[in-house]
Symmetry: C2
């Protein structure tokens, strides 16, 4: 029952645990139900645990719903549709603005930091320079960690695994809180800019958009008195899910300036459930994001955004290089893909191990969290300032257009400690914003710019730092560290293959990044499009596809994608799209245990309260019995949350009679609208007197007369597919019928 | 019952027809079943009609299947997975090769034709020139039409609507025949190259790939003795569907040299059912296509492919133009999108009307078909040769790099009848291959190249020719005519807006093409990526997205997408993803009619034969009765095709006993593997003696014990979602239980 709460402590055998968990989770009780903890049981669990509930993606077609649906006027339906699009627009605008705000802040703050460091370096005040750099990083990191630790613990990490789980139907509490959004925006926008910590934040943008979406989806926040009546139509998990899908797409689109890539990311990685109307809305959202970005880039090109200057829609343009497809090129690329896939899956393995260790530390409280962040930040500062000292100075090439050496904020050819007309290649990579470092690694026609040894050291350092950085208590992402490490690796391989291939080392950098991304994330089409939109080189497409296919295949041999791993590690009961092989050998009957609790069509209040108290089931079948029916027959399914609302309404009658008509007059569909997670009526809120316990309540109006059902001989595999494809949470289950429908106990 | 066969004759009211048809189709009988005609009933229908059956996408988990599944060795499973990928590889290779072959043939044949015409023009033999042009066109068109009319009528048209319907679960017979593939390849590859007929063929490539896929999927053709035993695992509709999805993606990828666009096309437009594993396989297939194309383009760049010379992976490169985003630009683009959307939906409307007219003509037999093709071909020749005479000659610009006037095969600035140093702008568009015409329309920094009047006449002519050309009996597509008309329209608008906008007219051409595509096809993401891959200008992405959104919205106000329209017009019972609003008011019980026919677990042979003869149902529920069960209970569902195989095997017993064990020893899962459509055992093939009619047969081994079921109070909308999401064909239906399970008649 509280299995899901043993999150991150369970070090022994997660693999077998989750398989066992699988059955229990989905098909727990005589009533087939995707059972996660229900609200009332969360209270039992300690504060550190992660309470998990299922989302109701099914339309509950009960009498009240049908009545409401019939009475809806055309104008209301139109309003509803319009609102959906308006929300998509708002999400797009907001995400675009946050993306730009974040970008400008990053460029300015880290630019300032680098300028200061470089200034002190020029005056040969090397210790002061280090102090400035480390101090800046430390302050930013500590502030972000504090925000994260004290205000919104859910804001830590990239947010993608949570989004993925949410769209799969897992409702992990605090993801949706407005405070999470606040911390995310602030954390990534201004504080967490110790960007040399290598984990820029790209991906949190996605969860940012996701949070906005969910905030809208909740119809405003009740806590901050921001709730609107006309949002009541959106008070259900289905519409929230759609908004959050749009949010995920918008986030990626904004982070990479890749609108189509964003849509595909939402489709391939995030969403468990998809329909064509959603594709269109998502596309609209990312188009808005693209427009916003475009407008701001135009505005900033005049120099009004401080140090954020150039940078068009294409972040790392490599289109200048000539692509060749000779046999040695292809062979080199295949080798690159194979090794990249292996490194990628190793990355996943190590991230997993590190996350398990960190979860032990993070459990010790906010202070421990902050301490961890500070340690990592210091380590990063030491690496990025210390390692360049080992590099030998290189004389500036004479034929390049960019300034050399460069004491500016961005660009290649950092001077560091080198004499005039020399540059430090290691510093060009380490003492730079991530964007610039990637740009340098992907720069074409500059094959000799970096020493082989520099590339090797950089790759190793970034690979390790990336692994130990993810999982500390700040909003951070995986994409940028992986791209950095991959680009370094690719450029290294490119240098090694230089004698036999005509492909530019910059393009090798791109392919290396692709191989790492494919090896860790295991996406194909969306990564392909994102990389295309990042680098603007369509002619590379066949090679990028090849590398992605190879590295994904290699990676899949060893372990799962990194987001799947994290979802599993967090104990979120993610439901896979396909059934496990062992399920084919079981039937629905096999995994049912314990007595079945049903209600009569007109049930005694006391019975209902008792059932709600003693069980954690989310749904109960309703059986019509004589005198209301000739023989016992299944009337439908009633949900816990609806029962609670009904009981709170206290529309009871003394006698056992059908009181549905009166009930329908006094209670409305909106009363049953689902509030944000954990905000609905709770069992403890009920205040039912003893005499009321003996009264009756008519369950017919709130009974879902269209439950999906399975026969008990249905194989488990097919039942799982049913659950997943239709996004079900509960499913009535027909027991073997022996002279009548036996949906009662035993 | 034979409603679906009144295809294309039914001129009065298709709209209401298909709504009424909807219920009947899906929920026909007491047994809820997506009923299309079953094999036995097709014979009744005339030869002209289009017999429609449903595909079985559900896994039939009967005893035989389970046994087979348990006995499968790891090596066999590995072999199966490997084969899947091998097939994807083969489809990719084949499609890529056909694409290249087609391209080379087009360039060479139409190049030869144009060279001849131009040569005669230079000698001032104008009538001879026309005769040569029209003669070539006529011969090619007539040959393609003859192939199409006599050998494979299903090869006519673009094939996309058929693929779409197939993936939705509609099995329209002859689409899958190998002869169709043959005609497609030949028709598009070499014959149907009267490319000035404006309908180049792009899209048939998709159905080509689709045919290959289905040929593989059928495990070789039995007719041509090409069947392999190790393909037996693929003898089911599920795997066939997967292969065909790959084929659709590969076709588009090959036609537009757009691998990612191909995947997205398959996802957004073609497939009704999707899973992430399929995404990956499709991606692999298109990657193979991209590789094949790349290799051949490299090979041909040395001039070994005749007139097929340059042309890289990017077909119409516009990346040279500078993109601007000022307010007037945006306004102009919005207006362009609005008008383009309206023209697009008008296009759909007219295509629909023309198709209805043509279907009357085509019904009259092959000769009428060929005559129609010849007429259209002549009309096209007259247009393309006659209209340039009205254009005034333009002096050659002095500052262009390309030759002017040009008497070469491809390129701008056709000389036609003009004096030296002048060119005929109308001839540059009409007397060219489609590819070159589009390239000319999208050419940037040449804003004055075409007269306003030329663009207007070209747009009108192409718009009308495109409409009357689709639907004649040759393999032809919709994409290229729409792009041509759209590019002409866009360039026209660009010229008109020249005073106020800074956007290049070539880019306006691109946006015009986008608006027409959006207005007719109503796709978003896939069109966006295809256009991106065609033109290689990422900076245009936000504008292309904007135009697509606007034109799709405009178009949706008036009618459906063109492929949806054609599917409907062909009478293919396509099942929409979402339920119609009226379905919410009905429950499953409401649409059930007629008596329910069930079988006992051990049934008399005579009863089965009788039921198969008198009904057209595809599935029958099996009820276990005493003595095999305590009370009547649902055992599962048995399929018509399986019953036929069982009866053919003649494993009967004299007494009413459970003979399942013996049966399982004598009959294997493979015997029930589904042959290609219309090739399974037919009722007429059975030869059962009178005494055998009195014997019994045990149905348990072939009974699917895991049928999906619905309760009778289930709303129709939810039942429809169940059918669509799970790809069901038949679904057991629980009647209201009155003292026992009444799944028997009445």
């Amino acid at each position: 029952m509280d299995r899901e709460n043993k999150v991150l402590n369970d070090d022994d055998d997660i693999e077998s645990y989750s398989e066992k968990d699988m059955d229990e989770r989905i098909y727990s009780q005589p009533l087939l139900t995707k059972r996660r903890n229900t609200t009332s049981q969360i209270a039992i669990v300690g504060a550190n645990a992660c309470p998990v509930e299922s989302l109701d993606y099914e339309i509950i077609e009960n009498e009240l719903f049908k009545q409401d649906w019939r009475s809806r006027k055309t104008i209301q339906i139109f309003q509803y549709v319009l609102l959906k699009w308006a929300f998509a627009l708002i999400i797009g605008l907001f995400t675009g603005l946050v993306g730009i705000f974040n970008n400008i802040a990053v460029e300015n703050i880290s630019g300032f930091k680098l300028l200061m460091t470089t200034g002190l370096m020029l005056k040969h005040q090397y210790y002061k320079a280090f102090a400035a750099l480390a101090g800046c990083n430390l302050a930013l990191a500590a502030a972000a960690a504090a925000l994260c630790a004290y205000i919104a613990p859910a804001a830590a990490g990239s947010g993608i695994p949570e989004v993925k789980a949410y769209l799969n139907g897992v409702d992990a509490h605090s993801i949706l809180a407005p405070s999470t959004l606040f911390v995310k925006v602030n954390g990534i926008g201004s504080l967490n800019i110790f960007s040399n910590l290598l984990l820029l934040v790209i991906f949190t943008l996605a969860s940012c958009a996701f949070d906005t979406a969910s905030l809208i989806g909740q119809g405003g926040s009740r806590k901050y008195h921001l709730t609107w009546k006309w949002l009541r139509y959106f008070k259900n998990d289905r519409d929230r899910r759609d908004l959050i899908t749009c949010g995920a797409a918008a986030g990626v689109a904004s982070a990479f300036r890749a609108p189509v890539g964003g849509v595909l990311f939402a489709l391939e990685e995030a969403a468990s459930w998809w329909r064509s109307a959603l594709l269109w809305r998502t596309f609209f959202t990312t188009a808005v994001v693209a427009m916003v970005l475009r407008v701001f880039i135009q505005l900033c090109s005049t120099g009004t955004c401080g140090l954020f200057g150039e940078g068009g829609l294409i972040m790392y343009d490599v289109s200048a290089a000539k692509v060749s497809y000779s046999v040695p090129d292809i062979l080199a690329v295949i080798l690159l893909g194979v090794i990249g896939g292996i490194f990628g899956s190793l990355y996943n393995y190590l991230v997993d191990k590190v996350l398990r260790t960190y979860s032990l530390i993070n459990e010790k409280g906010p202070a421990a969290k902050i301490l961890l962040v500070v340690t990592i930040s210091l380590l990063t500062s030491i690496c990025s300032y210390g390692l360049p000292w080992f590099a030998t100075c290189i004389p500036c090439p004479t034929d390049v257009s960019s300034r050399c050496p460069n004491i500016d904020v961005s660009g290649n050819y950092k001077s560091f400690q080198c004499p005039p007309n020399h540059y430090n290649d290691m510093a060009s990579l380490f003492l730079n914003t991530n964007d610039d470092a990637i740009r340098n690694l992907l720069s074409t026609s500059t094959s000799k710019e970096f020493h082989l040894s520099t590339l090797f050291i950089f790759f190793c350092a970034v690979y390790c730092l990336g692994i130990i950085t993810y999982g500390i208590a700040i909003p951070s992402g995986l994409f940028i560290p992986v791209i950095l490490a991959g680009a370094g690796y690719g450029r290294l391989v490119g240098r090694l293959f230089e004698p036999i291939t005509k492909l530019d080392v910059g393009l090798f950098g791109l392919l290396g990044a692709a191989s790492f991304l494919g090896g860790t994330m295991r996406m194909t089409v969306s990564l392909c499009v994102i990389l295309l939109e990042l680098t603007n080189d369509l002619l590379m497409l066949p090679l990028v596809m090849l590398v992605l296919l190879i590295s994904k295949t290699m990676g899949d041999m060893f372990n799962h994608g990194v987001y799947d791993q994290i979802v599993k590690l967090k104990g979120l009961p993610y439901m896979e799209a396909h059934a496990e092989p062992y399920m084919k050998h079981l039937v629905a009957r096999d995994i049912v245990s314990g007595p079945l609790i049903t209600f009569s069509g007109v049930e005694k209040v006391g019975n209902i309260v008792h059932a709600l108290k003693t069980t954690g089931h989310n749904g109960f079948p309703v059986i019509d019995e004589p005198p209301f029916a000739d023989s016992p027959e299944l009337c439908g399914l009633v949900l816990r949350s609806h029962l609670l609302v009904l009981l709170k309404g206290k529309i009871f009658s003394k006698d056992r009679v059908l009181a549905g008509d009166e009930l329908v007059r006094r209670i409305f569909s909106f009363d049953f609208a689902k509030a944000g997670s954990g905000k609905g009526v709770k069992l403890e809120d009920l205040d039912i007197e003893d005499e009321e316990m003996e009264m009756y309540v008519d369950l017919h109006p709130i009974t879902n007369a269209s439950p999906y059902t399975v026969v008990e001989t249905m194989s488990l595999a097919k039942a799982a597919v049913l659950f997943r494809q239709l996004g079900l949470r509960t499913c009535a289950w027909y027991q073997r019928v022996r002279g009548g429908l036996q949906l009662s106990e035993s």
